[in-house]
């Protein structure tokens, strides 16, 4: 009766064993997803944030460094009870803000942008002072943690626009990041050097793999840290800025709108670059970034507008030097050529009648340069005056552009504007196919009309004259990291299309502008020969912009300057004063002309 039952029982045993082995084979050998799950279970990847590179001035003075800042993180799953009143008191927020934070958190969790199991930023960017206050109380709040990171700090507020600022990466930037380098919550340079040298400054992130147990408690490195990488700090930048000069320039520009740029002509290094009015860069760090940014960007004086690169003006009389150089190169003029100051077509100023080239520059004679331009544009190559102008203008355009005008110079900052140098094609567009000839476009002769330049180009122009015909692209960083060298393109010498011998005339004329010109006494220095040129840019209906470019000393120049003071009247006044003070400060270390300084400081030119 019980025959075979032993065997049936044994078959059941074997059957179970076989089913187990098959199931085990599936989950252990065939389906490898469990291995991955085990890794995500037990291994926590921790990003090691690199320290952002420091930024110093040319003498090694610290301008931008890092200071600690703290994020308050929350692991929602661990928050079982929260004394909200106490929380608001300790963290100094209103119950309303707290509620908003939680709403945001719940939204993020719903949209899978955050996890209730993972630490998520709750209050960002607590300052050192906040931290000191909170530190003792953090244990009271279950599920809240403090995480340290660094933020930018500024040793000087004078470099705001040049250095730029750093802030959390925007969603747009994140989407456009093809390198996949950035993660949400990362910080990125948003303007100035911080943006331009982002790839050098940011460093390389490290990663650390940690074993954690089921409660998320870290039990040590994974495989003794075999797969860990260290974070590599960002490279430091040594800028070309002379911080003393920069701060002095900022001091002079106080209460004015405009810019100062000082360049070392022999290298193209920017010694100072002041944009006025400016802002305090430390306002754009820390917890109040958003509200401060709104405040600054809504300021009608546009403190975030980096005037040295972005404000385009008509070049005014300064342009006459360029006209002279081009005319000499084209052979339509010699330094000795005298031209009647015939004021019937174009107005002029001062008392002079029949100057040679040096005199014409010194006195900024408008009819002289009207005549010079006409000689250049109408050389009689074609009998058709329209065609003749076209040929002449194409030639003229090529020469003018070789001075770095008409297109961005390529400084190591973002958002540089290029100005405008009209070409035949430009006038074709402007006149919509109707013919044009010299008589239509002659106002470019004296730097008015269609011409546009940015202050940086004018400073570079001064450097070209100082160098007698060449320039290095102006730049703000003289050494990236420990290389001791700027970026390769800043080591290239650019020559103008003008023969260097012609520049001596310009240098001499500019020397005479300062030494003999009636209004330009403010630019004169006792022991240093300053060469300069005023410009007065019409700015109806407000007063003219005061413009001055200069370099010094005359032989082997060490500094070239361009100064724009908006709505400050004649170039010989505010701009010339500031330029000479900058030269004096840089070459002598201090200024000895309190009257000029007072004159600059007391002038109120903000409208």
């Amino acid at each position: 009766m019980n025959e075979g039952r032993k065997e049936i029982i044994q078959i059941v045993f074997v059957l179970v064993a076989v089913i187990f082995l098959l199931k085990l084979f599936v989950i252990q050998v065939i389906d490898r997803s469990y291995a991955d799950l085990a890794d995500t279970n037990a291994i926590r990847k921790e990003i090691l944030y690199p320290v952002r590179g420091l930024i110093t001035d040319r003498n090694g003075k610290l301008m931008v460094y890092n200071s600690p800042e703290y994020d308050l993180l929350i692991i929602l799953k661990e928050v079982h009870y929260l004394d909200t009143a106490r929380f608001c008191h300790v963290f100094d927020i209103t119950p309303e803000q707290l509620r908003q934070q939680f709403d945001q958190l719940y939204t993020d969790i719903r949209n899978k942008r955050a996890s209730e199991l993972q630490p998520t930023p709750f209050i960002k960017q607590l300052s050192n002072r906040d931290f000191a206050k909170i530190q003792d109380h953090i244990d009271e709040f279950e599920g809240f943690y403090i995480q340290a990171r660094t933020t930018r700090a500024y040793a000087s507020s004078a470099v705001a626009n040049a250095v730029g600022y750093v802030s959390e990466i925007t969603r747009n930037q994140l989407t456009n990041d093809t390198t996949n380098f950035y993660r949400q919550g990362d910080y990125i340079g948003q303007s100035g050097l911080e943006a331009y040298y982002e790839n050098y400054l940011r460093g390389t992130r490290g990663v650390r793999y940690l074993l954690r147990n089921k409660d998320g408690i870290i039990k040590g490195p994974y495989k003794n840290g075999r797969y860990d990488t260290l974070s590599v700090p960002g490279q430091d930048l040594t800028t070309t800025i002379d911080l003393d000069l920069q701060e002095y320039g900022t001091f002079l520009m106080n209460g004015k709108s405009g810019s100062i740029i000082a360049i070392e002509p022999g290298t193209g290094e920017i010694l100072a670059m002041v944009s006025g009015p400016s802002y305090d860069p430390s306002m754009l760090t820390g917890r109040n970034y958003s509200s401060n940014f709104l405040l600054i960007s809504n300021d009608t004086n546009k403190p975030l507008f980096n005037r040295p690169l972005m404000a385009q003006y008509r070049p005014g009389s300064i342009f006459k030097i360029a006209q002279a150089m081009v005319a000499l190169q084209e052979g339509v003029l010699t330094p000795e050529t005298r031209i009647q100051c015939n004021r019937s077509i174009i107005g002029c100023h001062g008392s002079h009648t029949n100057e040679d080239l040096r005199g014409a520059i010194t006195h900024s004679c408008n009819p002289y340069f009207y005549n010079v331009l006409r000689r250049m544009l109408n050389k009689g190559i074609s009998s058709d005056p329209f065609e003749d102008t076209r040929i002449g203008l194409a030639e003229w355009d090529k020469h003018i552009r070789s001075f770095g005008l008409g297109s961005p110079l390529g400084i190591d900052l973002p958002n540089e504007k290029g100005g405008l140098v009209p070409s035949p094609a430009y006038y074709d567009r402007a006149y919509r196919g109707r013919p044009w000839k010299f008589s239509n476009i002659y106002s470019i002769a004296i730097g008015e009309g269609e011409n546009l330049v940015v202050p940086l180009q004018m400073a570079n122009f001064a450097a070209i004259i100082a160098n007698r015909g060449f320039y290095y692209t102006p730049h703000l960083v003289k050494s990236v990291g420990k290389s001791g060298l700027p970026l390769p393109r800043f080591q290239e010498k650019h020559y103008t299309t003008i023969d260097p011998k012609h520049f001596e005339v310009a240098v001499e004329a500019m020397e005479r502008v300062v030494s003999q010109g009636t209004g330009q006494y403010r630019a004169r220095l006792r022991d240093i020969v300053v060469c300069g040129k005023t410009g007065t840019v019409q700015n109806d209906p407000l007063p003219d912009h005061s413009v001055f470019i200069a370099f010094a000393p005359k032989d082997d120049p060490k500094i070239a300057v361009s100064v724009y003071v908006e709505s400050a009247g004649q170039g010989a006044r505010a701009a010339a004063s500031i330029a000479s003070l900058m030269i004096e400060k840089y070459l002598l270390g201090e200024t000895q002309r309190p009257i000029i300084e007072d004159y600059v400081l007391k002038g109120q030119f903000l409208y």
Partner: protein, 422 residues
Amino acid sequence: MVREEKISNRMDWITVLLYGIIVFWGWLNIFSVTYEENQFILDPSINSGRQLIFIGSSVAIIMFILIMDMRFYETFAWVIYGVIVFLCLVVVFTGHEVGGNQAWLRIGSFGFQPSEFAKFATALAVAKYASTVGFRMDQLRNQVRLFAIIGLPMFIILLQKDTGTALVFTAFVLVFYREGMSPFLILVGIGVAIIFILTLLVENEYILFAVIGGVWLTLILLGRKKRKRIMVLTATALMLMGTIKSVDFIFNNVLKEHQQKRIRVLLNPDLDQLGAGYHVYQSKVAIGSGGLSGKGFLKGTQTKLKFVPEQSTDFIFCTIGEEHGWIGSLMVILLFMALLFRVVYLAERQKSRFARVYGYCVACILFFHFTINIGMTIGLFPVIGIPLPFFSYGGSSLWGFTILLFILLKLDAHRLQVMNRG
């Protein structure tokens, strides 16, 4: 009277060897589970150190079992059964709660689970009753009494809220089957289980009703249209529908909430990975991550970092799966198969009915533990907290299984005497 040989010559050393290997490997695994650097396996403050003490005391227990007169177990089967059942009852009222089960009896600082010992005690009682002169398994009266014998401890252990251990007693049904009980009961049990799971799987019970109705109609139309046959078919169909109807009731009202969850999770493993499904999910992840040959001894991350709960006791198999891979799992399963087959072999060669029935009880209890324990770690059975015999950490369970097995070996060593005595 034949002079008795030394017991060492008559011991079944193959079983002893298998027992030794499983216990030793289990001990190594218990060490691995909680391993931290610079830990010593013999350190009495960690589980492996304590387990060694349990193993040592098991050896003492084995000695005691072997020294005792072989007739002791048969003679005192009812007394042992009575004492253990009484202790189980005591636990219900005075016991300490550990892990949701009120199964622990505490004597001073020493705690143990009488329910672990109820298994061998019940096995003795079943064997004793089955060896009564004139006992016939196919008599309903005998069946009822046998079910009462296993039902009593089962009920008391259920009162201790230890469902897992209580379920172990259903393993005896397989023994009854071997001894001649009709397989009908087992088949009905399996059938009910299938219907139970189907009902939970198929949301709409009317679909099941429709299927049963369809089959019923087909059978009636196709088969012979005898009145009795139609009656039987109709009754069966109605009973099935009644079962289905009652499943919801049983599921929702008889089973506890955590038990409901465990069953739901089994049917839908992704249901709640952090809640009720956590055990099984983490256990499968640990075992699955082992691959073919495992991460190596002491190198498992999942078990060591405590993702798998109760890993020294009920989920000890995870460590095997993770550290020794499929090969290791195969070894463990083969070891248990060898042990089970050996025990069945031993049972079959017994000359007395008492010893044979007892041998089958041993095989079936070990088999039930093996099946449910490993099945639950790989997600084939709901989470029922019972240990893997000889492998899991714990004194009571190791002692209980050791006693269970070695009483059989003692009986086996003297099997020829039984015949000699006639």
